[in-house]
């Protein structure tokens, strides 16, 4: 299954985006383009506005100023983008049930769900755990369930909010490696918020955020991707 959908959602463009809550400016004049390609890392300390930026980009909260466009349009079908929360909430069902739920919510017929669910379970390495209650899985396993759940509707963009934030070092690297592999093999465009500098070091595109203002940008050699392949 290719994760790559039509490119009409890309690039994601934030133009002079500002978000103000009461008297507090959370984001100020954010201009950022997320083009198809390697993961973009949004790095910044806690409270810098990373989560708000991702939620706004997902369309979960409205912007106060500026605008966000997806492939040049201000609205896009909801299943073309997905978000991974720092603490993903597992629905009270099995791991497979959680992953398949996203398809059910999208109105995919039951007959079509199981094969796609099984495919995603293999992709994130959860074989053998599919029937386990999702809430009884470890943090790293739950994050894998959340990744599969986010990707099963074949989004073109994944917004990941501290996807390794609550994990130990080993699980953090494993999840990060999975996201990198998904980029290489499925051309998944992602914006990953983190405060982990070591993880950011591994990425080609890094954007800094502090006090709601973009600080730095660095672009190293951008790794390509090969749909269905393992490396670029």
């Amino acid at each position: 299954m290719s994760m790559r959908g039509p490119l009409s959602d890309l690039p994601v463009m934030l133009e002079e985006v500002g978000i103000i809550a009461g008297e507090v400016t959370i984001l100020n004049g954010i201009s950022l383009t997320i083009a198809p390609g390697a993961p973009t890392v949004l790095i910044g300390p806690n409270g810098s506005g990373k989560t708000t930026l991702l939620r706004a980009a997902m369309g979960l909260i409205p912007v106060t100023r500026g605008r966000i466009t997806w492939g040049g349009q201000e609205a896009s079908p909801p299943d073309r983008r997905a978000i991974l929360f720092q603490r993903p909430v597992m629905l009270r069902r099995s791991a497979a049930g959680n992953i398949g739920y996203a398809l059910a919510a999208a109105g995919v017929p039951r007959a079509d769900r199981s094969a796609r669910t099984a495919e995603l379970i293999v992709m994130v390495g959860l074989q053998g755990l599919a029937r386990r209650p999702a809430r009884r899985l470890s943090g790293g396993e739950q994050q894998r369930v959340a990744i599969a759940r986010a990707l099963i509707t074949r989004p073109s963009v994944l917004l990941a909010d501290e996807p390794t934030g609550d994990l130990d070092e080993q699980n953090a690297w494993a999840v990060f490696g999975l996201l990198e592999r998904l980029h290489r093999t499925h051309c998944l465009t992602s914006l990953i918020a983190t405060h982990n500098a070591a993880l950011a070091e591994r990425c080609d595109r890094v954007v800094g955020l502090e006090h709601g203002i973009l600080q730095t940008r660095s672009v190293k050699s951008v790794a390509g991707c090969t749909p269905g392949g393992e490396s670029s």
Binding site: P78, F85, V89, R93, A102, A105, P133
Partner: protein
């Protein structure tokens, strides 16, 4: 053990006693079923929707959990009596009237507890379901399904109210021997007649049934949680 004692009646399979126990279960479980059909969707809707006056409805619903059974019994009596608006139905002093009265008593309990349960779960699920653009109807079904084990407690609370209640059903049922006599109305009658051993025996039977059903429900809940998480 005298011939009239409840234990004797239980052990000898007295048909009159089993009819009383059967009717008690039929009335209380039917009331819980109807109350659940009304209360669960209403509670879930109240948890997930916002409208002017919503908090007044919540306060009123919570207050109705403490409805006095005799007042409900009186209201249903007036509705179903021959001169009442629903008198033509001919339901007064029938088990159906008792089910209606207990449904009125139990519905607020189930609706209020459902609302609280679903609202708590909604706080937890909100971001994930919003990110998946889950529609309103699917949202309600998802939350009710995922809260099903917690909702068992709401149903048990409602059934506990129905099984232990005497004030409403004695007014609308009339405690007619062999027709509308339940364990609670029989206990009230036997106590007033001074047959305390039989009343106590019936009380023990009633409490045993309540414990048994709660234990079964608890077991089912634990097994379900172990399976679904």
């Amino acid at each position: 053990m005298g011939e009239g004692s409840a234990l004797h009646l239980v052990l000898t399979g007295d048909p009159g006693l089993y009819a009383i126990v059967g009717l008690s279960l039929e009335v209380s479980l039917s009331a819980v079923l109807f109350a659940a059909l009304i209360g669960v969707p209403f509670g879930a809707m109240l948890a997930l929707t916002r409208f002017p006056g919503r908090e007044v409805v919540i306060v009123a619903l919570n207050a109705m959990m403490g409805l006095p059974p005799v007042v409900v019994g009186l209201a249903i009596f007036l509705l179903l009596s021959r001169s009442g608006p629903l008198g033509a139905w001919g339901l007064l002093f029938t088990p159906q009237a008792m089910i209606i009265a207990q449904t009125v008593l139990v519905t607020p309990i189930i609706a209020a507890l459902t609302r609280q349960t679903i609202e708590d779960l909604w706080v937890e699920y909100h971001d994930e379901l919003a990110a998946m653009s889950v529609g309103a109807a699917t949202r309600i079904v998802t939350l009710v399904w995922d809260a099903r084990f917690s909702l068992v407690t709401a149903l048990l609370a409602g059934w506990g109210r129905a099984a232990a209640e005497v004030g409403a059903i004695i007014i609308v049922g009339g405690n007619i021997d062999g027709f509308t006599r339940t364990m609670t109305t029989a206990i009230a009658l036997e106590t007033s007649k001074g047959d305390l051993p039989l009343a106590i025996g019936l009380g023990v039977v009633l409490i045993s049934i309540v414990i048994l059903i709660n234990a079964l429900a608890w077991g089912a809940r634990r097994a379900g949680e172990r399976y679904a998480g």
